[in-house]
Amino acid sequence: MDSLLAFFTVFTQPNLLLLVGIGTFAGVYIGAIPGLSVTMAVSILISFTFSWDVYPAISLMIGIYMGGVYGGARTAILLNIPGAPSAIATAMDGYPLAQRGEAGTAIGITTVMSFFGGFIGIAVLAVAAPFVSDFALKFQPRDYMLLAVLGILLVGSLSTGSLAKGIFAGAFGIAVGTVGMDPLTFTERFTFDIPLMRSGISFIAVMIGMFGVSEALLQLHHIGLPAIRQKITRIVPSWGTLRKHLPLSLQTSAIGVMIGALPGTGGDIAALMAYDHAKRVTKNPERPFGKGAIEGLVAPETANNAAVGGAFIPMMTLGIPGDAVTAIMIGALFIHGLNPGPMLMIDKPDMFWFIVGALVMANFFMLLFGLTGIRLFVKIVEMPRAVLIPLILLLSIVGAYAVNNSITDVYWMLGFGFFGYFMRHYGYPLGPVILGVILSRLLDDNWRRAIISEREDLGRFSWGILSSPLSLTLFVAVVLIFVSQTPVWSRAKSVLGRRQGQ
């Protein structure tokens, strides 16, 4: 009963409802404007809303998250520029559709399918999270440690880039997270005897730098990109079209929830994997993939919105973020004095049901804003980058300064911004860095707790891992991810393939 009340909090309090609505509306446009990403927006916002109560702050962020994951699709369809990373796959078939003059159909289908995927993600979150959190109480410190390592490895291995660079990024993030005084023994770590370094590096400065400044600097390369106008007609898709793609959308939603729920990996990876899946299972598309196949829109759009609900599962139950945005939200909850993890679900179940309620509402708002206001949309998206980029940079500076009223944070933010700029150019993923910074404390604490409880004996520690089914599963997963990226694996696969062929 209490959870039902908590679920309806957002519906009964007009100010929260309004914030979710504003957030979703803003999110759709933030997602749609190339150069503004949800991760960037949420990381800048966290520093502005930290003087607010926790409910309004979370309402606004959830709206932006849900709307932003969807919004990227529109620019992908209309301009062939994915407005957000999660819409990269959408551009492959969306833009060809728009070129044929069917931009309206494409937008309609992506909107309804995003709504559908989002709904499945939320449903799975509502049903699964309470079970997972019960299960999570059995987690030993070593399991948390393994899960944190798993999350950092997953991003590197599921993306198209190199695992070595992904691992480097993750380890770098963990190292950044340990800078300052050790909370247990007050030993200085990586401070180089500089007094300023003792308080550590603000993770908000790292985030805004990596996702705000580096993105804005990168956008300077594309300053002169022309915008193409499209005529948009007939948006609401027919019932027949929707029913036809229902089986595929269910499958791709499932992929989305799963990828979202895996620690570290979010909507962008889910969308690409779902697109691949759709290509494999669709035998006779009406049009070939890459030339305007509807399936090529259905798959990534259901998956990336389903991943939103999925990403909240590990965040709410274990305190381990499902993707970069939930990593930032964990930071937001910390700032508001809440500690995400299994105890939060038990001590404050209201918080969980409130978030589920807010997600449901954001999903409805997304449908509403998605099917209306196209004309206004086209105007806003054509906002010149010459104005947009300086504004993003200014907001990043204000955001970094606002958290601690400290100019040092601004310098950190700029430093990480320039570093992130080069990382992007040379193929180092940024997600693992943020994940590493957020998980650093968890990893450090749990490692030390685990090894102290085993009386500093590495042999006993290893035996502990091998004798617990949960730890063993996690350990095997870590090893498998690692091995699957080495030459040994591909050689073994080719040998096996040859044998089967004979």
């Binding site: 993306s159 040379y426 180092y428 090894i451």
Partner: protein, 188 residues
């Protein structure tokens, strides 16, 4: 499809990080080398925290992570060194064009001036300079857009989010007080 690949080389997201799988970009090897050197230095620094004192020492996790950094950086250096450079790209063309260097300078100048000059004048200078640099519109447009957007940002963040930025030379508090008094008197 080839063109698509060239579009995505800048690293838009974690799903598709930048660079090319079979070519190295200009400066990539140097960057990897710098990362390796920095990782080695950090490993040395991590060793200095507690040495090999205990598995649960404050230095254990930093040492483990920096070892991982050194190994992965080494793998990246070796792999990158084996690749051929992508001939069509240059540092000044694709990696660090002049506009990015200029903006880097502008951002540093912003950071230096923020404290002594205050938020409003520094931001105004920054917006005017950067919008003028990026667009070929008239000074009138540049001033109008800069002033308008700065006013919006200031109103939203000062009033709605109550963020206090460095005041510097503009007497913000007095101005706000003046308007408060004005509105108050008007209402009364």
């Amino acid at each position: 499809m080839q063109d698509q690949d060239y579009d995505n080389h800048d690293g838009t997201s974690d799903a598709t990080p930048g660079g090319y799988p079979d070519r190295r970009r200009p400066g990539e090897l140097a960057f990897a080398g710098v990362l390796l050197a920095a990782s080695l230095y950090l490993l040395y620094s991590a060793y200095g925290i507690a040495g090999f004192e205990a598995l649960s020492s404050p230095g254990a996790v930093p040492m483990a992570t920096t070892v991982v950094m050194v190994i992965s950086a080494l793998v990246v250096v070796v792999r990158t060194a084996r690749l051929h450079t992508f001939a069509k790209e240059t540092i000044s063309g694709s990696i660090l064009p002049r506009i990015v260097i200029i903006f880097t300078g502008l951002l540093i100048a912003y950071g230096v001036l923020l404290k002594p000059l205050g938020f409003l004048p520094t931001s105004a200078l920054f917006l005017v300079a950067s919008i003028r640099l990026l667009s070929d519109r008239s000074w009138g447009f540049v001033f109008a857009v800069s002033a308008g957007s700065l006013l919006c940002i200031w109103l939203i963040f000062r009033i709605v989010f109550t963020v206090l930025m460095p005041v510097g030379i503009v007497p913000e508090a007095e101005i706000i007080q003046f308007f408060r008094a004005f509105v108050h008197n008007g209402a009364a």
